[in-house]
Amino acid sequence: MDAKTIIAKRVAQEFEDGDVVNLGIGIPTLAADFLPTGVSVILQSENGFLGLAPLDDLVADVDLVNAGAKPVSIIPGGAVFDSAMSFAIIRGGHVDVTVLGALEVDQEGNLANWMVPGKMVPGMGGAMDLVSGAKKVIVAMEHTTKDGKPKIFKKCTLPLTGKGVVNYIITNLCVFEVTPAGLLLLETAPGVTVDEVRTNTEAKVVIGPQMCIMPIV
């Protein structure tokens, strides 16, 4: 199983039936493909609708896209609204789970994913509102950078998207819960050792009392 699939499958297990969920572009979006049996969620798209679904075999509608401008469809029973309503839903605590990628995340739950000063400044889009308002914030990303450097730190160095906002970090190596004591290691991916997790994590890792193998097949 490749890294992205491991992450997406594990993220999907965090959803409960009926949850309102916002998925970021990239790996987070893949999680919708692996919903556990009996769990269905309502996907929110921050450009203004509930009930996002993959494009079916119908012709793409140029006016119906996800937050990455890719054509999608809307489920029967979906609802469309303007950007103020969309962010009232997001900021007002009506989104149960938001899943985002990260450039950096740290043991205090700080997240940085919107700019690298002097290099890349795409902008925060809706990310700052999502992490400030969603009930559960999950960072889903590959554990290290492409050249193997840590992305999970004691303290983020990049400009923050949100301060103390992250609840869980799900990577291809493990699952962390952000706690006042540090990052609690809840699960390791199949075949991954605690030492590997520690080596690839700059933050303080605390072994969870019920640590287990990530239950993905």
């Binding site: 798209s45 921050e46 450009n47 203004g48 609708f49 509608d61 140029v62 006016d63 119906l64 896209v65 937050a67 990455g68 401008a69 809307i74 469309v80 609204f81 303007d82 950007s83 103020a84 969309s86 962010f87 997001i90 900021r91 700080n110 890349m120 400044v121 795409p122 902008g123 925060m124 889009g125 809706g126 990310a127 700052m128 509102d129 400030s132 308002g133 400009p159 923050l160 998207t161 949100g162 301060k163 103390g164």
Partner: protein
């Protein structure tokens, strides 16, 4: 007086140095005919308030490429490399605002509010230089209202009185911007006689709309 007009007449209201709100999310819901005509007209030094700067060949991105903007007040520029390039060499000033904050600032501008209080951006550089207000033990940022000289709006259906219906994700910032500008110009895909839209279906009341052109 009829609100139906030509693009040329409508764009007489857009002059150099003005602040212009333009609807759309990565080009979806952007009035492309109005943008194209504005590019052709060559109006300069505009401050553009929009969700994003789209792509170089789409929506607001075209106004960046044609160097008609001096300021962009947006939540995202990542899909338009030209915006980043002009920003880095100091030709274009970009103010990045969280998307939900931007939406509420525009709504506040149209709704006569003195601003909004939001938790979004607390503890980040977005909060720098802004007033923090405590309400019931929680902290909020004071974000001020945004207004514009002109708003360029895309609608799916307009009646001749300017009542509007939007379609799917092309709605986004359009209804909010239609409330927040002195002159509101709508590019409508379909124009119907007044009375043809059921009042319960109206998404933006016609009183907000000054001019309508056929999209």
């Amino acid at each position: 007086m009829s609100k139906i007009t030509t693009i040329e007449k409508a764009l007489e209201f857009v002059q150099d140095n003005m602040t212009v709100m333009i609807g759309g999310f990565l080009g979806v819901g952007t009035p492309e005919r109005l943008v194209d005509a504005l590019v052709k007209k060559g109006t300069k030094n505009l401050t553009c308030i929009a969700n994003d700067t789209a792509m170089p060949d789409k929506g607001i991105g075209k106004l960046v490429v044609s160097r008609q903007l001096k300021n962009a007040v947006v939540s995202h520029i990542g899909t338009n490399p030209e915006t980043g390039r002009q920003m880095n060499i100091g030709e274009l000033e970009v103010e990045l605002i969280p998307q939900g904050t931007l939406a509420e600032q525009i709504r506040a501008g149209g709704a006569g509010l003195g601003g909004i209080l939001t938790p979004t951006g607390l503890g980040t550089i977005v909060a720098e230089g802004k007033e923090i207000i405590k309400v019931n033990e929680s902290e909020f940022l004071l974000e001020k209202p945004l207004k514009a000289d002109v708003a360029l709006i895309k609608a799916h259906i307009a009646d001749t009185d300017g009542n509007l219906i939007f379609y799917r994700s092309a709605r986004n910032f359009n209804p909010l911007m239609a409330m927040a500008a002195k002159v509101v110009i709508v590019e409508a895909e379909n124009i119907v006689e007044k009375g043809q839209i059921d009042p319960d279906q109206v998404m933006t009341p016609g009183i907000f709309v000054d001019w309508i052109i056929k999209g």
